[in-house]
């Protein structure tokens, strides 16, 4: 089923009949279409194993689809070379489910990583990184290594790393999956603030339906390899099986 109702002239992310399979009988995603208008905050829900993480991976160009077309910022990525994909990736902030923090770097250095990749000098970004870590409540843990951080702290470092380059699109995979409800609310408020303050388009994959209900944002439901849009006004969801 095609995702409907999110029509926009120039969506930040657009998937047209995207499919992904690892063989003739193993469709991970069958026929997914969706678009995210600029400045939107959207949840992606669905049962475990439905392919939420895979869909996000396709969106942040970690995989190529076996069918269909993915457009980022109005650019059709289907025929782009590896070299041409890199600048697009720099405009996307990703919060990975498993954090993917580098153990040998401090919290500060982890957050600064995308800036180093972009070739920025430390003196140019030092204050921004400190400010960002302070904003996520880790101003006193700048030098802490990931091994010494709690799950919630790691998650906040991962979020700070995702937003440090002021991306146009943030893709977050279960960003509240490893934290308690209070921390989950706090993290979501960070996303909400980014969305409101900077107009960043955000897609959050989660199975935390309590959070989705509280957020009152639009929801894309992924099931059976397809996506269906559920407006938050029509949201009367039961807890998703996990």
């Amino acid at each position: 089923m095609r995702e409907q109702g999110l029509a926009a002239d120039d969506p930040v992310l657009r998937l047209d009949r995207v499919g992904l399979s690892y063989g003739p009988e193993s469709d991970v995603l069958a026929d997914v279409s969706l678009s995210l208008p600029p400045g939107s905050l959207t949840f992606l829900t669905g049962p475990s194993g439905a392919g939420k993480s895979t869909l996000l991976k396709l969106a942040y160009l970690g995989l190529r689809p076996t069918a269909g077309r993915i457009s980022l910022f109005g650019v059709d990525t289907t025929r782009l070379s590896r070299r041409e994909l890199a600048p697009l990736r720099r405009r996307v902030g990703v919060v990975f489910q498993e954090f993917r923090l580098l153990d040998h770097l401090s919290a500060y250095e982890n957050v600064a990583l995308p800036l180093r990749v972009a070739g920025a000098q430390e003196r140019a970004y030092r204050e921004d990184v400190v400010e960002l870590l302070t904003w996520v409540g880790l101003g006193d843990r700048l030098e802490a290594r990931p091994a010494t951080l709690s799950g919630g702290e790691k998650q906040r470092v991962a979020i700070a790393r995702a937003v440090v380059v002021k991306p146009s699109l943030i893709l977050a995979d279960e960003p509240t999956g490893n934290v308690d409800e209070e921390m989950g609310d706090r993290l979501f408020r960070l996303f909400r603030e980014l969305n409101k303050r900077l107009g960043t388009t955000i897609l959050i994959a989660t199975h935390d339906m309590a959070l989705v209900r509280k957020a009152k944002s639009d929801v894309l439901r992924l099931a059976d390899g397809m996506v269906m849009r559920v407006p938050h006004t029509a949201l009367a969801l039961k807890e998703e099986p996990t």
Binding site: Y60, R83, L88, R90, L113, V117, A118, E122, V129, E143
Partner: protein
């Protein structure tokens, strides 16, 4: 805060220490082989220079026959000079085998003529003509053609040099293969970093650069230490040879000349650049498999 101070690719002490040892050993062997190869070619050149154009004529007969042989030899076109070797000179030549004063007066020593050909003359043709002239003059002589045995010596030393060069090439190729293997292992071990950088928008060159710098440094350091050890080994062998005053025929003589210094100086550079290129090629190939 020191974001730029921490390398994005962390050091892996245990594996890198082992790799450093292997690279160092290969550089040591390659540098030593290089020294042997250069010495072999230098020795071959020296041998050739020494014997080129020199002809020795053994004369049967008395002093008059010897004098006549000198005259005929000088008169032969292609001969630059010729002179009779005195009994004292002949005794001196035999001294290493018979000792000082070890030649009894009654022992007949061969009468010899030492001749030198003009440069660039066809030596074989000259020997034929000289032999003919001496025979025509009624002299019973044997003309020793140094070219025959010097060519064999040259061939032997050239072969030794070639073997040493082959060893250098094989050791170099082995070193590159080891670095490529180590790069691949590091790449697999730190795939998390590579993927994260890739997904953060890093170009392949940026990621490959991390590995290039790592292995360039490793190659340079291993090459420098290996070359230093090769220098030490060569100097030790040289010292032993000089202490024993040994004359080892047909073996290249180590000298530690300017050319040897060049070989030793180039070893770290070559090892570093080869390591860097091996790392780059390996990383770029691996990254090509990613989206």
């Amino acid at each position: 805060m020191s974001a730029s101070a921490s390398p994005l690719l962390p050091k892996e002490d245990a594996r890198e220490a082992a790799l450093f040892f292997v690279a160092c050993a290969l550089c040591f062997l390659a540098a030593l082989s290089g020294l042997v190869s250069r010495s072999a070619y230098a020795a071959a050149d020296a041998w050739t220079t020494d014997v080129t154009g020199q002809i020795t004529i053994r004369v049967r007969g008395d002093d008059a026959a010897l004098a006549r042989a000198v005259e005929v030899t000088i008169a032969t076109p292609g001969i630059a000079s010729a002179r009779a070797i005195t009994r004292a000179e002949a005794e001196e030549l035999l001294q290493p085998w018979l000792g000082a004063g070890g030649v009894p007066a009654s022992l007949p020593l061969p009468r010899l003529v030492a001749a030198e050909a003009v440069p660039d003359v066809d030596a074989k043709d000259l020997v034929v003509r000289l032999t003919g002239a001496l025979k025509t003059a009624g002299l019973e002589t044997v003309v020793d053609d140094h070219l025959v045995w010097s060519a064999d010596v040259r061939k032997s030393i050239d072969l030794a040099g070639l073997v040493a060069l082959t060893a250098v090439a094989l050791l170099g190729a082995t070193g590159i293969a080891v670095i490529a293997f180590a790069t691949h292992a590091t790449l697999l071990a730190r795939r998390d970093i590579v993927e994260l950088l890739h997904l953060s928008g890093a170009q392949d060159g940026f990621i490959a650069g991390l590995f290039e710098r790592r292995f360039l440094m490793l190659g340079v350091q291993a090459g420098a230490l290996g070359a230093l050890m090769a220098f030490g080994a060569a100097a030790f062998v040289l010292y032993l040879l000089r202490q024993s005053d040994a004359q080892i025929w047909l073996l290249p003589q180590l000298s530690l000349s300017l050319a040897d210094g060049l070989i030793l100086g180039l070893a770290p550079l070559v090892a570093g650049v080869a390591s860097m290129i091996a790392a780059r090629v390996t990383v770029m190939r691996s990254l090509a498999d990613m989206v």
